[in-house]
């Protein structure tokens, strides 16, 4: 009950705080440069120049406190020892290069990177194309989109039940094992099977991200001028040819944006691994490794070094993504 009250209070304060800031700051600006009197023209143009900064100010401040400042501190910490007191040069980075777990995480992250964006975009495109023209398409879309509303942790819990293993002699409650047994197979401890367990974790993220890809791509598909499709029909193209030669090329920009957006999510994947295997049995990833060193190993130096590696990986994709998204909007 107390949590509910606190949550509502936060929402109310947050929303009304924003509204109040909007009105009060505007009033203050108008009081400072009144849009009337002898200098009305000059005042209006001055106020117009200031106004955008007024609205950006809270965001800029918050971003500085929670993004820019931590970035510099991370850089600083990554050159210091576990307690952050003694300068150690590049020692944390050289340690990284030799660390077995780091290599495993890098390798797994690359694996995630190869599989998840491709699979999510592919399934999203498939779902968008297939649900486009059927009557219950919107219902199907709602169902496919639903996982987006579930937190990564929630999704992980759901899938943990699916992969659940109870052990010999006990009744299997995991969906997958129940199915395997009903077909005459024997139950497996899915999440400990080396190498393949990575894919079992990836399925969770694909399940979530397919909905996102579908919604964006479905909108893009609808934006394709109907006449180009009709012209292709008259030109004799089959439905598959129309899809791959006429429709997909026209939404290529959107596909790239979806792909890279999911790529960034994948590089930061953390909750799923933490909740399902905690990086055991060869499933470690960078973000979880960082979390491990930060809060279990209590080593701010190494954790910061890993954090910066993640950032280095994400930044170029991010820049490309934003460029693409901007080009799409034009």
């Amino acid at each position: 009950m107390e949590q509910l009250f606190m949550a509502s209070a936060t929402i109310i304060i947050g929303v009304f705080g924003c509204v109040a800031y909007f009105f009060l700051s505007n009033m203050a600006l108008d009081a400072l440069y009144p849009p009337r009197g002898p200098n009305a023209g000059a005042n209006i143009s001055r106020a117009t120049a200031i106004r955008p900064w007024l609205f950006l100010l809270p965001a800029i401040l918050l971003l500085c406190v929670y993004l820019v400042y931590p970035f510099f501190v991370s850089v600083w910490l990554s050159f210091h020892d576990s307690s952050g007191n003694r300068f150690v040069g590049a020692a944390n980075y050289t340690w990284l290069l030799g660390d077995e777990k780091f290599r495993e995480s890098m390798k797994n992250n690359m694996l995630w990177l190869l599989v998840v964006p491709a699979a999510s975009t592919f399934f999203g495109l498939l779902a968008a194309a297939l649900t486009d023209r059927i009557r219950w398409g919107n219902l199907a879309k709602a169902l496919i989109f639903m996982p987006m509303a579930i937190s990564f942790i929630g999704a992980s819990v759901i899938w943990k039940f699916i992969y659940d293993y109870r052990g010999e002699g006990q009744r299997e409650i995991g969906l997958l094992n129940a199915m395997v047994e009903s077909f005459g197979g024997s139950a497996q401890t899915w999440l400990t099977i080396p190498f393949w367990n990575n894919f079992f974790l990836m399925i969770v993220l694909i399940w979530i991200q397919t909905g996102f890809a579908m919604v964006i791509l479905s909108a893009a598909l609808r934006g394709i001028p109907e006449e180009t499709v009709e012209a292709a029909i008259l030109d004799g193209a089959s439905p598959l040819q129309i899809f791959f030669k006429i429709k997909v090329p026209q939404i290529w920009g959107t596909i790239a944006v979806v792909w890279t957006t999911i790529t960034i999510t994948v590089l930061k994947v953390f909750d799923i691994v933490l909740a399902m295997t905690n990086g055991q049995w060869g499933t470690q990833v960078l973000a979880n490794l960082m979390f491990d060193w930060m809060f279990r190993g209590n080593d701010t130096g190494r954790a910061s070094a890993i954090a910066l590696v993640i950032m280095l990986l994400v930044t170029p994709i991010m820049i490309w993504n934003i460029r693409n998204a901007r080009a799409e909007m034009r």
Binding site: P225, E230, A231, L234, D235, A237
Partner: protein, 361 residues
Amino acid sequence: MADLKLTNVEKAYGEVKVLSNINLDIKTGELIVFVGPSGCGKSTLLRMIAGLERITGGDFAIDGMRMNDVPPAQRGIAMVFQSYALYPHMTVRDNMAFALKIAKKSAEEIRAAVDKAAHILQLTPYLDRLPKALSGGQRQRVAIGRAIVRDPKVYLFDEPLSNLDAALRVATRIEIAQLKEAMPDSTMIYVTHDQVEAMTLASRIVVLAGGGISQVGTPLDLYERPENEFVAQFIGSPAMNLMPGEVVETGAETVIRLDHGGVARAAIPTQTADMGMKVKLGVRPEDLAPTEGEPLFTGEVEITEALGEVTLLYFKRQEDGTQVVAKLPGIHSELRRKPVRLSADPKKIHLFHNGRSLLYR
């Protein structure tokens, strides 16, 4: 080489019939224009011929082969869309080559066909450009080129000039006419709402209205001998004047007394039984001329529109709401607010009874 035959063709969306009783014979080499007010179903009819809309009743045949259920690509037709419908991600060359590539033609054959079409349409310098780097007129030419390379039996044009500005529209209209000249064996169907396009391009015009065909005929046929009031008023600009009246003398020529006073003689034969028949007299604005003799119409000019070569006279509305318009050659701005007496050559008078022309009884 293609004859088209539509027999009792109809189109219904569920319960709602938008087209019915469409019977039309189109011969090889004709350029048929579908005209009609917006929403009359002219584009729908074209799309049914193309195969983009299902034909819900009747038969449609090309060269005697029933085409109702033949897929669009196998009907031997090509279509030019109002919005050009170029593939935005392909160069001009690829746009034109697409259909041939789908048909698995050899590379040399494709190249030859595209180069030839590009030459005809003066698109050769633009072959490697994307559509977005072309002007509206060039895009429309690419769309036409895409149709030409397929060497179809029938060309369909769906308001191809509507997206072009006025000057370009005239130029492209002439290009289409020249294209037709160069391909005397191909059949073309052209949809437009622009009368000038219809009158200048068509070998025959099909006027569609109220879910059916109002009249089919050569442009001058429709102009000189409209079958009904709708066609009479739809073809020609400004529209034909229609005035209510009564037959007072029958014979080889008919005399009409108009409800608002005038008397007119029409070169249309009537029988004695037609005496006293209520008719509507139709006369085109350009056929009215000032007269000193017995007038067909007398009225005060309310507005004049001087266009230089002609002057349009708009008369005060009659009590029944009809407005008479006259088109006189030359400049006559001085006639504003003046009473004018008008008459017309009996050969230029049209008579309608219950909306149908007495010529077609």
